[in-house]
C-alpha cells in the first residue's frame, strides 16, 4: 500500500505512509492482545470469562506499567535504562524500613513521607544517570548498568532481610479496593462480588494519560521524538539535545520511583528479591508496544497494551497447567523475538521506501 502512495508522489502522502508504518506496530500490538485475550476466554475459560481476571492483571502489573512508561520515554530518545528494576527494589526496601521505624515510634513520618522518599530515590537516580548520559556522553547502557549494581548493593545495605510492613494507615491504603460498577460476578453461593482495582492501578493509569499528553501535545514531548529520530537534525533545529536526553532520564527515574512505590503498595513489604527482572519486562513491554529501539518511534498507548499482552500471556501459560517457571520465560522470549523480527522487517521496508 505504501508503495502505491509513494508512486503517487507528494510529500504529504509519503508522510502518511510512514505514519502508517509506526501505527502499524501499535495496531499489531492491540490486535495481538485482543486475539490472545479472546482466545483465552473462549478456549481456556477458567477465570478468564470473569472481568475480575482482567482487573487482577492490572492490579499485579500497575508498577510494571509505570516502569514501562518511563522506559518508553527513554527509548524514544534513543537511550535505555536498565536500572529501573533494582531501583524499584531499593524503593520498596527503603519505604518498608522507614514505615516500620514509624510504626515502632523510632522515626516520625507517615504514608506521605514514604512516598516522598520513593520519589526522591527515583529522582536521584534519574538525575545522576541523566547527567552522565547526556552531558558526559557515556553509553546509557553502561551508566544504567552501574546504577543497577549500585541499587542492588544499596538495597542489601539498607536491610538484607525481608521487611513486612505492619504500619496501620499504609496497610489500610494498600488494601483499599476501588469497586467498578456493573462488572462484578456471582460466585457459587449466589453472592454478588463486585469487581475491584487497587489504588495503584488508578495512579498508574493517571501516569499513562499524563505521559500520553506529554508526548503528544507538549513541546518537550515532541522534542523527545526529534532527538530520538535524528540527533543532529534536532540539534540543528535548535533543540537542546543534551537537556532533552537529561530530562528523559529524569522522568524515567521519577517513574521508577513511583513504580517502585506502587510495587511496594501491592507487595506491602521490602525484600532484596523484589522486582527481579522488572527492567527486562519493562523493556520487553515497550518493544512489544511498538517502541523502536533505534529511537524516535513509540507510543504510550502501545506500551499499555504491551504490558497487558505480556501479563496476559504469562497468565495463560500458568493456567494452561505449565506451572514450571521456565515456560513463562520461554514464551516471553519467543514473543519478544517475534516482535523484534516484525519491527526489523518494518524498518527494512521503510528504509527501502526512502531509497
Amino acid at each position: 500500500m505504501s508503495v502505491n502512495t509513494n508512486a503517487l508522489g507528494g510529500s504529504r502522502l509519503r508522510r502518511r505512509a510512514s505514519l502508517t508504518d509506526t501505527n502499524l506496530l501499535l495496531i499489531i500490538t492491540i490486535v495481538v492482545f485482543i486475539v490472545m485475550y479472546m482466545s483465552a476466554v473462549i478456549f481456556l475459560q477458567k477465570g478468564f470469562t470473569k472481568p475480575q481476571m482482567f482487573f487482577n492483571i492490572l492490579n499485579e502489573n500497575a508498577s510494571l506499567l509505570v516502569l514501562s512508561c518511563g522506559m518508553t520515554l527513554v527509548m524514544i530518545t534513543g537511550g535505555i535504562d536498565i536500572s529501573v528494576g533494582q531501583v524499584t527494589c531499593l524503593v520498596c526496601m527503603a519505604c518498608a524500613v522507614h514505615l516500620q521505624k514509624v510504626n515502632d515510634g523510632v522515626a516520625t513520618g507517615n504514608v506521605f513521607t514514604s512516598l516522598l522518599i520513593a520519589l526522591a530515590i527515583g529522582l536521584a537516580f534519574g538525575i545522576v544517570q541523566g547527567a552522565l548520559v547526556a552531558y558526559m556522553e557515556f553509553q546509557p547502557f553502561i551508566v544504567t548498568l552501574a546504577g543497577l549494581f549500585f541499587a542492588k548493593g544499596m538495597t542489601t545495605i539498607v536491610c538484607s532481610d525481608r521487611v513486612p510492613v505492619t504500619y496501620e494507615p499504609f496497610v489500610k491504603l494498600a488494601r483499599t479496593e476501588v469497586t467498578i460498577p456493573f462488572l462484578g460476578s456471582v460466585n457459587k453461593k449466589g453472592i454478588y462480588i463486585p469487581a475491584y482495582v487497587e489504588v495503584g492501578v488508578i495512579v498508574a493509569l493517571a501516569v499513562v494519560v499524563l505521559l500520553f499528553c506529554l508526548l503528544r501535545w507538549t513541546k518537550l514531548g515532541r522534542n523527545f521524538y526529534a532527538v530520538g529520530g535524528n540527533n543532529q537534525s534536532a540539534n540543528m533545529l535548535g533543540i537542546n539535545v543534551k537537556l532533552t536526553k537529561f530530562l528523559a532520564h529524569v522522568l524515567c527515574g521519577l517513574c521508577a520511583g513511583l513504580g517502585g512505590y506502587l510495587f511496594f503498595l501491592h507487595a506491602c513489604s521490602g525484600s532484596p528479591l523484589h522486582a527481579q527482572g522488572a527492567e527486562m519486562n519493562a523493556i520487553a513491554s515497550s518493544i512489544i508496544g511498538g517502541t523502536l529501539l533505534s529511537g524516535g518511534v513509540g507510543n504510550i498507548v502501545g506500551t499499555l497494551f504491551g504490558v497487558l499482552s505480556l501479563s496476559t500471556i504469562k497468565n495463560i501459560v500458568t493456567s494452561l497447567g505449565l506451572e514450571d517457571a521456565w515456560w513463562t520465560n520461554i514464551t516471553v522470549g519467543v514473543m519478544l523475538c517475534i516482535f523484534l523480527l516484525v519491527q526489523s522487517v518494518i524498518l527494512a521496508r521503510k528504509n527501502k521506501n526512502k531509497k
Binding site: I80, L132, M136, E137, F138, Q139, F141, I142, V143, L145, A146, G147, L148, F149, F150, A151, K152, G153, M154, T155, T156, I157, S160, P272, G277, M280, I283, A284, I287, L293, S294, D324, A325, W326, W327, T328, N329, I330, V332, G333, V334, L336, C337, L340, L341, Q343, S344, V345, L347, A348
Partner: protein
C-alpha cells in the same frame, strides 16, 4: 603551534613520554591494578602469601588469595575475549552470556549424568570430549542465533540478546527437566579444580590455552582488521569487499565458543548446577572488563590485552571487597558500581579530550603571554635604540653647531 615546537625537538622530553604512557590503553587497568595491590598490601601485608597446602582431596596445591583470584578470573577472562570481539564488530554487547553459560553447563551435565562413576579412564575421557564438543556446538548455535538477529535483522545487540537473557536460564532448566543434578565422579571436577599432582588450578591452564589460541587466530587471520573495519564503518567496509554480516555473525559464534568453555568450567567447579544462580551477573562483569580495558563500547578499535587485564582487575576488585568480612556479600555490587563509575569516568574519551583541551589552552595562553612579553621587550629595545639614535643625532647636531 605546539606541534611545531615538539616536532623541532629531536629528543622527546620526559613530559611527552609520560603523556604517551598516560594515553596508552593499558594505563588505566594497570593503574587500577597497582592501586588495588597497594591497598591490599597496606591493609593486610600477608594478602599475597602463596603457600603449598594439601586440599580436601589430599593433593598438595597452591593456595592463597592471589591463586584464588587468578583461578576465579578464568571464566571472566575467557568471556572478555569473545565480548571484546563482539563489541568491536557490532558496537554492542551480548547480555545473554550468563544465561548461555547455564545452557552450556546444562548440556554437559545432561551427557555426563547418564554415565556410571566407575567407568574406565579412556571411556570417561571420551564422554567428556563428546559432552564438551556438544556444548560447544549448542553454545555456538545460540551465539549464531544472536548473531543472525544482529547481523541480518539489524537489531541492536543488547536487545537481540535480551531474548536469550530472559529465556536462557529457563531453556537450561528445560534441558534437564529442572532436575538438581550432581555428578559423583571425582574426575569430572578436575576441569574446574585441580588435577591430582598438579598444584595449579586447571582453569588457569584452560585460560592460557584460550589466550594462545585467540592470539594465533588474530595473528594468522584478518579477523582483527575485519572486525575493526566493520565496527568503525560497516557500509564502507562492505564497499571494500568485506561482508559485515558474516563478520558480525562470526564474532558472535566465537563468543558462543568462549561461553561453552566457561560453562564447562563452571559446572566442573561444583559438579552440579543451579539454573537460576550459575554465572549470575557475569555478563555485567564481562562488559565492565571490556569497558575498563579502555575499549570503545560503540565498536571499532579494540585491544584484547587491555580487556584481559580489565577482567583480572574486576575479579581482583571482587576478591578485595569480599575480604572485608563486614561487607555483606550481596552488597558488594554497590561498592563495585562506585569504583567502576569512577574508573569509567577517568578513562572516558570525553574527559580525556577535555583535559587535553585544558592543557592545550593553558599552553596556548602561556605561549601567547611569552609572545606578548617578547613583543614588549622588542618594543622596549626599539624605543631604547630610537632614543640612542636621537641622542646620537642630537650630539652630532651639537657638534656641527
Amino acid at each position: 603551534m605546539t606541534t611545531n615546537v615538539s616536532a623541532l625537538k629531536s629528543q622527546p622530553s620526559a613530559k611527552e613520554v609520560l603523556g604517551k604512557i598516560v594515553r596508552n590503553q593499558l594505563f588505566i587497568p594497570l593503574v587500577a591494578l597497582f592501586l588495588l595491590i597497594a591497598f591490599n598490601l597496606i591493609t593486610d601485608p600477608g594478602f599475597f602469601k602463596v603457600s603449598l597446602e594439601p586440599n580436601s582431596a589430599g593433593n598438595l596445591v597452591l593456595s592463597g588469595n592471589l591463586i584464588t583470584m587468578i583461578d576465579y578470573a578464568s571464566e571472566l577472562v575467557i568471556l572478555a575475549i569473545g565480548m571484546t570481539l563482539v563489541t568491536s564488530a557490532s558496537g554492542g554487547q551480548d547480555i545473554s552470556v550468563g544465561a548461555t553459560i547455564a545452557i552450556a553447563g546444562s548440556t554437559v551435565l545432561r551427557i555426563v549424568k547418564t554415565q556410571s562413576p566407575d567407568i574406565s579412564g579412556a571411556k570417561f575421557a571420551g564422554i567428556i570430549i563428546v559432552s564438551f564438543l556438544l556444548c560447544v556446538v549448542v553454545s555456538a548455535l545460540f551465539g549464531a542465533f544472536n548473531g543472525a538477529l544482529v547481523a541480518f535483522f539489524k537489531i541492536q545487540p543488547m536487545v537481540a540478546t535480551l531474548i536469550l537473557f530472559t529465556a536462557g536460564r529457563s531453556i537450561a532448566a528445560w534441558i534437564n527437566n529442572n532436575d538438581n543434578i550432581s555428578i559423583n565422579d571425582k574426575r569430572f571436577g578436575y576441569f574446574g579444580n585441580f588435577i591430582p599432582g598438579i598444584a595449579i588450578p586447571t582453569p588457569v591452564f584452560i585460560t592460557v590455552i584460550c589466550l594462545i589460541v585467540i592470539a594465533i587466530v588474530l595473528k594468522v587471520t584478518n579477523l582483527r582488521l575485519y572486525s575493526q573495519a566493520v565496527g568503525i564503518n560497516a557500509s564502507s567496509s562492505r564497499l571494500n569487499g568485506i561482508n559485515p554480516k558474516v563478520i558480525k555473525l562470526l564474532t558472535f559464534i566465537i563468543l558462543g565458543v568462549c561461553v561453552a568453555v566457561c560453562g564447562f568450567i563452571k559446572v566442573s567447579r561444583t559438579s552440579s548446577i543451579t539454573y537460576s544462580v550459575i554465572a549470575n551477573n557475569i555478563e555485567m562483569d564481562a562488559i565492565l572488563a571490556v569497558a575498563l580495558g579502555g575499549n570503545n563500547l560503540g565498536g571499532g578499535k579494540f585491544n584484547l590485552t587491555a580487556s584481559v587485564l580489565g577482567a583480572y582487575v574486576i575479579q581482583f576488585l571482587t576478591t578485595t571487597l569480599y575480604k572485608f568480612k563486614e561487607i555483606d556479600s550481596s552488597s558488594i555490587s554497590a561498592y563495585k558500581a562506585v569504583v567502576v563509575i569512577i574508573l569509567i569516568i577517568i578513562s572516558a574519551p570525553i574527559v580525556r579530550r577535555k583535559i587535553d583541551d585544558m592543557k592545550n589552552r593553558r599552553e596556548a595562553a602561556k605561549a601567547e603571554a611569552e609572545a606578548l612579553k617578547a613583543e614588549a621587550e622588542a618594543l622596549k629595545a626599539a624605543a631604547a635604540e630610537a632614543e640612542s639614535i636621537e641622542a646620537a643625532s642630537a650630539e652630532a647636531g651639537k657638534e656641527t653647531i
